[in-house]
């Protein structure tokens, strides 16, 4: 160890960041080198003074603010996760009112199904396995979509998930809820647009139309709003009239959006 090497590592020794072997080597050199020893003594004294600088704790304001932030974030996450579910449950009774004979029909079909059980018993094991396999695939898809929304992964990853979910031929409720969440909450207009595009295939579902109608007034992107209006026209969503009328008379709304709303009102 010479003076140059010793000087280079001296700060690390003073800061306690040297391994024992190198530290011993430096100390060995300083034992025989008064100049390095003097240099080290002054550096050590400076470090000790720096460490001795008193530091009071921050005020309680810091803790209170962070706890508030955590609670706000938790509420946001919860509301995002619950949103599609609430839309779905809100849409269901309307479907029931529209088709009051559905229950009777289902009861009749159920009776027929019970009679057919004996015939298909031999096939049951294979069918159950197939159903379980399909459900597992759909569950995975649902989890992917949910996680992509909740964990806020990169835009590319979220977009890829939405596109994959959109390509699914038989999506279940969770996949559609995930797409609705993406359309409603994703920070990227591109992801929201693609989620809306993926929802076209399910425009016949009340929940999907209800979600688009609910999102229309709170959407900030005019491009997205125009696309939503096009969606509602394509879906023949007559129930969107109040929201379209509100947009039409909203002086703060974008001109293209208002024009789209007017055209949609005419078409519907």
């Amino acid at each position: 160890m010479n003076c140059t090497s010793c000087l280079e590592r001296m700060t690390e020794l003073a800061c306690g960041k040297l391994d024992e072997k190198t530290a011993a080597s430096l100390r060995g050199h300083m034992d025989s080198c008064p100049e390095c020893r003097r240099e080290f003594a002054t550096l050590t004294r400076t470090v000790e003074s720096l460490d001795a600088l008193p530091s009071r704790a921050p005020s309680e304001r810091l803790r209170a603010q962070l706890m508030g932030d955590i609670e706000t974030e938790k509420l946001t996450l919860r509301s995002q996760a619950d949103w599609a579910t609430s839309i779905r449950s809100a849409a269901r009774p309307r479907a029931g009112r529209r088709f009051p004979w559905t229950l009777l029909l289902l009861q009749g079909l159920g009776a027929c199904a019970l009679a057919a059980v004996g015939f298909i018993a031999g096939e049951r094991t294979a069918t159950e396995r197939q159903v379980a396999d399909l459900r597992a695939r759909v569950d995975t898809m649902g989890q992917l979509v949910e996680q992509s929304v909740l964990e806020k992964r990169t835009t590319g990853e979220r977009l890829e998930t939405v596109l994959t979910a959109g390509a699914s031929t038989k999506p279940d409720e969770r996949v559609i809820d995930g797409l609705i969440n993406s359309m409603a909450f994703d920070s990227s207009v591109n992801v929201r647009l693609n989620a809306l595009g993926a929802l076209y295939a399910h425009a016949n579902q009340d929940v999907v139309r209800a979600a688009v109608i609910a999102c229309l007034p709170r959407e900030t992107s005019p491009l997205m709003q125009v696309s939503m209006i096009d969606f509602l026209v394509a879906a023949r969503a007559h129930e969107a009239s109040p929201e379209l009328r509100s947009l039409l008379v909203d002086s703060k709304a974008n001109g293209d959006v208002r024009e789209s709303a007017r055209r949609a009102m005419d078409l519907l």
Binding site: L43, S49, L53, S55, P58, R63, L66, M67, L150
Partner: protein, 213 residues
Amino acid sequence: MTSLAEIPVLAHPFGVDWYGGPPLDTPPPIPDHGLMLAVRDGDLDCMGTLFERHHGPLFGYLSKLTGNRSAAEDIAQTVFQRMLKYRHTYRSEGSFTAWMYRLARHCANDYFRHSSAAPIAVDPSRLEQQVDGASSADETAAAREDHALLHVALGRLDRDDREVLLLARLQELSYAEVADILECSVGAARVRAHRALRALRDLYFKLQKEPIT
């Protein structure tokens, strides 16, 4: 006959507190990394534990870096807010402390850019009142003066030097992590820390010869 109400009820009849000693099976504390991974996966309450562990040292670092207590609190708050906001960017192979101080560095840079503040007050009356280990009035006064001089010396140091020096003094950070935070090589971090410490020493000793008036 003793009524039921008179029988003392043990708070934890089969628990760990009845014998008055420390808990028998206290689980080891969850490491920061595990807590942050839990936060990333949606368990936001773990952020409270991380706050309790780290807000003190973080505030101390920012307080010395900016020389402004109020600004240090604001920046610390922003750091924790960003930890919440960008929790999905936390990587499984990362070090929590390094990640937190990297965020702190960016937040502090934002503060300096927007405020163009000249850090560290020269007025010794604004310095902390407590002085550890000083028993007599003379020693207290001497220590206060010493702290005042060091505050001034820190304030006169280049911001980059002050930053590398304060990071290098954090026990929980290795030089590799300091280098990672500063986005430079380990060798460069070592050299910068050494140069900064020498610069601080020169300023500090010079001030000791010319005390504040």
